[in-house]
Point group: C2
Chain length 201, copies 2
DNA sequence: CAAGCACTACCGGGCACTCGGTAGACGTGG
DNA sequence: CCACGTCTACCGAGTGCCCGGTAGTGCTTG
C-alpha cells in the first residue's frame, strides 16, 4: 500500500485520524437507519459527540463523508487481499457471505446505498458501476481458474459471474427484510451446488 | 356522521380517477430520478401541471401517494393473473424479465424503493417484506409443479425459490448501472439452465 | 505561537403539510 | 328556468422544521 495522499484541504494528525474513523463508522450506522439522503450530518455528529460544524472540519462536505464510507468498505472487505490484484476464491466468497450474516447493520448500509445509487446523479453511482465491473471480472477469473472454460453446469465463467454477484446482492435484500425466513449462507451454498453439484465449497 | 364515508376525506369522480393515475405515473418517474425520500411533492405536482397543494387534494399525504405507486405496480405486473391465486409460470417469469429490460424507468423506480425500504421504519418496508414472502411461496409452488420435490440439480423447490427471486433483483441492479455490459434476459435464462440444463425456458 | 480542533451564530433554501378560500359542475325544488 | 346548496378541483399564503454549508472565534497542545 502506498502512502495515503492528503485527503485535501485540512491536514489531520494521528488523533484526528482516529476521530475520522469514528465518524465514518457513525456515518455507516446513520446511513443504515435512514439512507444517505435521509442521513443528516447533525445525526452523525451527535453520535460522536460533535456538532454538525465540528464534523465538517473533518469532512468538508457530506459527499466527502460518503466517499470515505465507500473507501473504508473497500479496505475492509478486501481484508488481506490487495484490491484489484488477486481475486477472491470461492471459499473466501462463502466466508464473506457467512460474515455478512452476522453484520446486518453493515449489509443494510450498503444495500441502502446500492438502492439509492441507481437514481440520477447519485454520488455513489460511479462507485457501484466500477465495483460491479471489477467484481464480475474477478469472479470470472476465479471461476475459470477453478473449472476452466466450462463450468460443470455448462455455463462459461463470463455467464456465471454476474449470476454469482446477483445472488449475493439479491439474497441480502430478502434477508434484511425477513432474517428468520432466509438463511443467507445456506442459500448461497445451494447456489454453488447449482454451479457444481460435486463441490462441497 | 353515522354515514360511513368513502375511504376518507374526498371522493373522486371518473375524471378525478384519471388524474390520480396521471399523478401516480409522474410520481414513479420522480422516484426513479431521486428516490422516495428525495422525491418532493412539488416535483411530482409540476409534472402533471399542479401545485403541490393541488396534488395533496388527491393524495392527503406523501405516504398515501407511495402506497398508490406500490399498489399500481401490483395491479400492473400481475396482469391477467389474480394476485395470490395462481402463481406465474417459469415462462411468464422470463417474459417479465424480458419486458423489464425495455422499461428501465420502472425498474429503476422499484429498485430505488427496494433499497430505501431496508432502512428503519420505511413506509415501503412492510410492502416488500410481504411481497417477498408471497413471491417465494408462489415460486416454490411453480417449481414443484414443474419438477416435483427435487429439481434436476438436486435442490428442493424451497431452496431454489429464494435464489430465483434474488437473481431477478440482483441482475436489475447490475443492469441499471451498466446496461451495455449486462444482458438481463440472457443472464436469467443462463440461470434457468443452471436449474435444468435440459430446459429451453 | 501555530496548527489542529471544536464551538456559536447564522444563512438561504427546501420540505411536508395546513388553512382558508375560489371557481365551476350538478342536482333539486320553488 | 333559475336560484340554491353541495361537491369536486384546485390554488395562494403561510407554518414549523430541518438541511448542508459558511464565517468567525477561541481553546488546547505539541
Amino acid at each position: 500500500m502506498t502512502n495515503p495522499p492528503r485527503p485535501q484541504g485540512v491536514r489531520h494528525g494521528a488523533r484526528g485520524q482516529a476521530r475520522r474513523e469514528e465518524i465514518v463508522r457513525a456515518a455507516m450506522e446513520v446511513i443504515a437507519e435512514r439512507g444517505y439522503r435521509g442521513a443528516s450530518l447533525a445525526a452523525v455528529a451527535e453520535k460522536v459527540g460533535l456538532t454538525q460544524q465540528g464534523l465538517l472540519h473533518y469532512f468538508p462536505s457530506k459527499e466527502d463523508l460518503l466517499i470515505a464510507v465507500l473507501t473504508m468498505r473497500d479496505e475492509w472487505d478486501s481484508g488481506e487481499r490487495v484490491i484489484g490484484e488477486e481475486p477472491m476464491t470461492i471459499a473466501q466468497a462463502v466466508g464473506v457471505v457467512e460474515a455478512n450474516s452476522h453484520r446486518a447493520p453493515i449489509v443494510r448500509t450498503f444495500s441502502a446505498l446500492l438502492g439509492e445509487s441507481v437514481t440520477e446523479d447519485h454520488p455513489a453511482g460511479p462507485y457501484f458501476r466500477d465495483r460491479y465491473r471489477l467484481v464480475r471480472r474477478d469472479m470470472a477469473i476465479t471461476l475459470r481458474r477453478r473449472w476452466g472454460d466450462r463450468l460443470p453446469s455448462g455455463l462459461t465463467p463470463e455467464e456465471a459471474a454476474p449470476l454469482l454477484v446477483a445472488i449475493m446482492d439479491g439474497l441480502q435484500f430478502q434477508w434484511l427484510h425477513e432474517p428468520e425466513s432466509v438463511d443467507m449462507p445456506a442459500s448461497f451454498r445451494a447456489f454453488l451446488r447449482l454451479i457444481d453439484p460435486e463441490a462441497a465449497a
